[in-house]
């Protein structure tokens, strides 16, 4: 089934077709309709222009300047971009971000899909409704508040997690004070809070698979893993593509969790690209450098998304 979203262009075409079918030449009405379209679109265009396109443009220009807010911007050419290679923190933050994205997206997709399959399997409707809501719930919580609570739970000396593990004789773990521990906690908190949306996407994707396909495959002797491998996976591949694109874009922008829980530490172990952008701009007043990092991050997101869509030609099955 395909859904065609109405667009201004298609509406005008429909209008013109209508006019052809009913040749009542009403040029004024036609012009009026066209004007009305633009009147309704104007707020969106103005909003996008003022708050999206102009800032993007300004940011691109700013990347070639040194500007600390107080003094006049000073043109520095590609110096801010060169900084990205000189400043070790920037390089580490990008490596951290990429590593985080790889692990977080895989874990997030796997957990979401597994839970979606469980919820879509045979269970009472009330239970299905309950789990759908419960699993989506973390997404609507404030990331900063969740991170704050988690940092208390994972506190090395007095946190509930270590107190609980201590009951089994497990010594205190430096969850937020060691590199590996901090990475694991940031990952866990991020995935826990974000898998809800992916989970809903998979629920929708799974629900759209006709039951007849499974019934037919059962008659042919396919069950369990084979059904999942040869029916479920191909038929939800468009959903998987969308879910993975959105998960990757979101993970590349991770900020709240490491900022609140670890401040990027210990050392630079959990420092991410967006944290460096924030620090450069709002702590160190290097808006040019922050813009340059932002542009590189944007290019990275575009590149990854393009690769995904390129690969989707081979791996995504549109039926």
């Amino acid at each position: 089934m395909s859904i065609t979203m109405p667009t201004p262009a298609s509406d005008v075409a429909a209008f013109e077709t209508l006019e052809t079918e009913h040749p009542a030449p009403n040029q004024r009405a036609k012009r009026g309709y066209r004007t009305l379209i633009w009147v309704f679109l104007a707020p969106t265009f103005i909003g996008l222009g003022l708050f999206t396109f102009i800032p993007i443009l300004a940011s691109m220009v700013l990347a070639f300047f040194r500007w600390d807010i107080i003094t006049a911007p000073q043109f520095v050419g590609f110096q801010n971009f060169a900084q990205l290679f000189v400043n070790p923190t920037v390089g580490i933050s990008f490596l951290n971000t990429i590593g985080f994205v790889i692990v977080a997206v895989v874990v997030q997709l796997a957990i979401s899909l597994a839970l979606a399959i469980l919820v879509q399997s045979r269970m009472p409707d009330w239970a299905r409704t309950f789990f759908r809501s419960a699993l989506f719930f973390p997404l609507i919580l404030s990331a900063a508040s969740v991170s704050l609570v988690m940092s208390y739970l994972f506190n090395q000396e007095f946190g509930v997690i270590n107190q609980f593990l201590g009951l089994f004789g497990i010594p205190k773990i430096g969850w937020l004070t060691t590199g590996l521990g901090a990475k694991i906690v940031v990952l866990l908190v991020y995935v826990w809070q974000n898998f809800g949306f992916t989970f809903l996407l998979f629920i929708g994707g799974l629900a759209a698979i006709p039951k007849e396909v499974y019934e037919a495959s059962s008659i042919d002797g396919a069950t369990g893993w084979r059904q999942f491998r040869f029916i479920t996976m191909p038929l939800i591949s468009p959903t998987t593509l969308v879910a993975s694109v959105m998960a990757i874009i979101s993970a590349l922008q991770i900020f709240d969790q490491p900022y609140v829980m670890t401040k990027g530490g210990p050392g630079d172990e959990t420092r991410t690209a967006v944290m460096v952008i924030y620090d450069s701009a709002f702590q160190q007043l290097e808006f040019g450098l922050a813009s340059a990092i932002g542009i590189v991050l944007t290019l990275l997101i575009m590149l990854v998304t393009a690769i995904q869509f390129r690969l989707s030609r081979r791996y995504v099955f549109y039926g």
Binding site: F15, L18, N26, R28, A29, G32, Y33, T35, L36, V39, D68, I69, I70, T71, N87, P88, T89, S151, Y152, N155, Q156, E157, F158, Q163, G174, L176, T177, T178, T262, K263, G264, G265, P266, G267, D268, R271, D279, F282, Q283, Q284, L285, E286
Partner: protein
């Protein structure tokens, strides 16, 4: 299908224009109370409640200066760095305040770019100011000198002292430490506290931050992670207002990274040992209200804090005799660390004379009393601390707060050059790896810190 007549279109556009006109004050923020008023604008770090709490101060000031309207703008932020960034955004937006409350963390940033020197005003009102300087320790004034000029009048300060839980100390079998106790004494007390504790307990809890973090342990070893020099100049102030004190120069200069000096390595080694032995918390966690809870329930034996904590502990229901305060122990010396705050006049202000009147009033006894009616910081005027802490709220040895300055005259502000944000980040991010990777990790960690500090100080 909708047929839109010209009349309807014009009507729709007209409605849009009327709607925009009606909502214009909201769109432009002109309806924000006080905006656009002819008033002296004062920015302070805090909430709307903090601004409201200063209403008595504003009223008293306006009674004295009926011609000057005052508008307090409270700016919230996670820390001083965020607050400064917001002030700078106001500057960039063309709506800078006239007066800004600035702490040590931002003194040199503001002095180097935004603040207006107070020298001419201090000269002009020298007689009035003499009474102020007579009551204020020169270390606090020196902290607001930059390259020979004075930029702020200290209003409140907090020296980093050691707060200890009296029950924990009692259990350890030790009495109150001597004022000049040594590092060995500190370790002995901490080990005894640990040995005699019940349940989860840490003898020393500290946070990874600029104030009260690693710096006190560097200062008591007569070192720092930055080189420390004094700028030339400043004699105009010292000779006129502190004639019996040796001149202190034109303010501190922290211009080079120095994290690899042997005393610095030694101090970090001490911290590594404390954390390694389980006597101190890993500083990468906790703080704020959590620390208040831990301290008040006896889960923490001691922690660095200043006069500001008295109010916090009181509000948490901690009785005066449940804790006390003492000095940091001695290593090569016993120099302490403090942070101070006061108002600065912006270069861009067209109301500098009025702004100076505000500064002068806040520095007066009446102004300081009204500005700090609760013990949420030690006051720059020595005489007022007796009223503040001697009124029954605070630990038994509250005199320690101000006596830190008197007893250890080399006590100095936290090192905060104009590149403070970058320097602070370079310090904080390297403290934890430096002290948590065993004795051999100390020097390696400091090497990375040195590199990061050099990069930070290269910024303009």
């Amino acid at each position: 299908m909708v047929n839109l007549s010209r009349r309807a279109l014009i009507g729709a556009i007209g409605l849009g224009i009327v709607g925009t006109a009606i909502s214009w004050p909201r769109l432009t923020g002109a309806d924000i109370p006080g905006r656009g008023q002819d008033a002296l604008t004062i920015a302070l770090f805090g909430t709307a409640q903090d601004a409201a709490a200063r209403q008595d101060l504003v009223d008293a000031f306006q009674k004295l200066h009926p011609g000057i309207n005052v508008r307090i703008v409270a700016i919230q932020g996670q820390d001083w760095g965020t607050y400064f960034a917001k002030i700078l955004t106001m500057v960039a937006a063309g709506t800078p305040p006239d007066v800004v409350s600035v702490a040590t963390e931002g003194t040199q940033l503001f002095a180097s770019r935004l603040a207006y020197p107070l020298d001419e005003f201090v000269h002009r009102d020298a007689d009035v100011m003499q009474e102020f300087f007579d009551d204020v320790h020169p270390s606090l004034v020196e902290a607001f000198m930059y390259k020979g000029n004075l930029y702020q009048l200290p209003e409140a300060f907090n020296a980093a002292n050691v707060f200890y839980n009296t029950a924990s100390l009692e259990r350890s079998g030790f009495g109150r430490p001597e004022d000049n106790w040594s590092l060995d004494d500190f370790f002995a007390v901490a080990r005894a506290m640990q040995k005699n504790s019940e349940g989860p307990f840490l003898p020393y809890f500290w946070n990874n931050r600029l104030w009260g973090g690693v710096v006190p342990w560097l200062y008591i070893n007569q070192t720092s992670f930055l080189t420390e020099e004094k700028a030339r100049g400043g004699d105009w102030l010292w000779n006129r207002f502190y004639p019996n004190e040796p001149p202190r120069g034109g303010g501190f200069l922290w211009e080079n990274a120095d994290a690899l000096n042997e005393q610095c390595v030694e101090s970090f080694g001490v911290l590594q040992q404390m954390v390694g032995e389980g006597l101190a918390a890993n500083p990468a966690q906790g703080g704020g209200n959590e620390l208040v809870a831990l301290f008040s329930t006896g889960a923490v034996g001691s922690t660095p804090a200043g006069g500001y904590w008295v109010q916090g502990l009181s509000e948490s229901g901690v009785a005066n005799d449940e804790y006390d305060v003492t000095y940091f122990p001695k290593m090569r010396g016993q120099r302490h660390q403090f942070g101070t705050a006061g108002y600065a006049i912006m270069q861009t202000s067209a109301r500098k004379d009025e702004a100076w009147e505000w500064l002068k009033f806040c520095a007066s006894k009446d102004g300081m009393r009204l500005g700090h009616s609760k013990p949420d910081s030690s006051l720059a005027r020595k005489s007022l601390n007796d009223e503040l802490y001697g009124a029954g709220v605070g630990p038994q040895h509250w005199e320690v707060f101000y006596d830190t300055l008197i007893k250890f005259p080399d006590t100095a502000p936290i090192p905060a050059p104009p590149q403070q944000a970058a320097v602070e980040q370079a310090l904080l991010k390297n403290v934890v790896p430096t002290i948590t990777n065993g004795p051999s990790g100390v020097r390696a960690g400091l090497q990375v810190m040195q590199r990061d500090l050099e990069l930070a100080l290269r910024r303009n």
